[in-house]
Amino acid sequence: MADTAVKNQDVTPQVTGEAKPANALDARLAALSLPEGGFTAAARADALARLRDMGLPAPRDEYWRYTDPKPFNAPEAAPLALGDDLGDSPLFGDLDRLKLVFVDGVFDAEASDDVALEGVEIDVLSVADRQAAHWAGDLYGALEASGQKPVKRPFAALNTVVARDGVLIRVTATPAKPVHVIHRRGSADADTYWHHVVRIEEGAELTLLETGMSGARSNGALEVDLQKGAKFNYITSKRAVHETVGLSHIFARVDAEAQLKSFTLSVNGRVMRHEGVIDIVGDDAFAHIAAAVLGDGDIGPFHHDDTVFITHAAERCESRQVFKKVLKNGAEGVFQGKILVKPGAQKTDGYQISQALLLDERSQFLAKPELEIYADDVKCSHGSTTGALDEEALFYLRSRGIPHERAIIFLVLSFLADALAEVEDDELRDQINDRLEAWLTDRAGK
């Protein structure tokens, strides 16, 4: 991996007119009922205008070259029967946390805990949006809008337009326990949207967990604003029914001395795409975004895309992108990651690594790492590797009597360890590790 300091031309993708399916967008919108919104009304109207301007993505758009947007462009979600396995993930199940349950993207008050938690103010969007004013009004759709440059993200704008529910969390102090958003499926043909807004006030800290099964098709967004010295730990585990197609977005604004840590675990999904857009706007802040992905094409076609854009606009900030994908039986992984260092963002420390472990020759990984640097006193590095299991290590483990399948599990966990290390809390990390191990054990030899 080489330290690189390069100046690139602006690479804003150009959407050509002929590829822009204008009618497709109309058809897409016609199939939806668009909420008017209360405090979000103006933001929704703006987002709709942005969306009409952008159109839906086409495969020739630079950031949609490796993931076919078709399932997300289609007016209707392909129905997906509700299986037997509708229970919540065991992950974080025994933690003391505040539970908020969403069924097909709609808040379920009865299944949720009472939202009283010292240090935080929690509302749900569907209720709050009956009012004309709310603290989240400054943020709803605002971070998404600023995240549209220089790369267009039409589905994020669509989310701002369509989402009726989500959680709005204002953190004023550090609560005693994490907030846990749990998604459940309610109907076979659900096309689900949710939009969370989080503001962490100066010096406050929040851990937000998000797990569960989304609908047949899902589109989630989180906008998070970290004020000076704020800390935000965001840990998500996407437990999709395999045939699910889903998009998720995180838009973060990180002010001075604030710390963002995001970790995503994904184990299933026909087509899944996670977009992370992080703007570091204050000095001495850091943002770490990491993911562990396990794809087994034998369960069904598997395609997983992580698209990340981190902008440094302040001095002495650190960013890390750690993305690890384990792919087998024809699974496909995509990573598109960028570090943009703006003029004046001196002493930036940017690091990006994307790696795939291919367990067979049919699986593939496509990576597009990018650096764009306009400051001269920075340290940025990026690396991307695609490899097979380390035969030497495999033999070492087997020579100690560890059976072949078990040895592979060890090496897969070993491969993922750097990404998991981004989960700060020991207990949470151990739980995720156990979950991974259970999944790998279940899929061993298949």
Binding site: A393, R400, G401, I402, R406, L416, D418, L420
Partner: protein
Amino acid sequence: MLKIDNLHVKLEDEDKQILKGLSLEVPAGQVHAIMGPNGSGKSTLSYVLSGRDGYEVTDGGASLNGDDLLEMEPEERAAAGLFLAFQYPVEIPGVGNMTFLRTAVNAQRKARGEEELSSGEFLKKVRAKAAELKIDADMLKRPVNVGFSGGEKKRNEILQMAMLEPRMCIMDETDSGLDVDAMRLVSDGVNALRSPDRSFLVITHYQRLLNHIQPDVVHIMSNGRIVKTGGPELALQVEEEGYGDLLTGAQ
């Protein structure tokens, strides 16, 4: 215990013969040393016996207590009582040394139809063995061999040997990269494991290690075969005269 008969081995991908009719027998309770110049096939022998990929046996065989070793998977050989102490122990980031050891111990016990060790039993045992080898608690907690010094890696190999209690131990240049103190620790660890029903095959370049681990028999290997077999005095002869005269005399 270990019986190797007219073993011929070539590299799988290349037309290169490495072992050319090697025969050797290590009875229970004995320590045999194999010495020989670079390229004589010593490490290949250890890898073929423990089941590493990349080699093809073209003739001959090897058995452990009458069971055909070459038919078994590496983990089956381990469960049958074979252990290879690696010349270059492998680092495995993200997998704790304790987890690794416990998995290995219990996998072998399970394969042999024995009851697995409970956490308590395992901890008690590993702490006692680690203390003997001056392996501190921190080393046990760290990922397997990651950030270990050369000496620590070799001590960790001996710890694994002590925990797994194999019947046949092959040590592949365990002395390489060890300072005097580390060599003494490793040797003490090995000597503590010597017993009437456990055998050792110690592969080394130098006689030095054999001052600490006294062999019963010394074999000289050259060009894929055992060319001379004798008592401990053979190792001293190598140390004094080098391999040159010995090999000339043997051919």
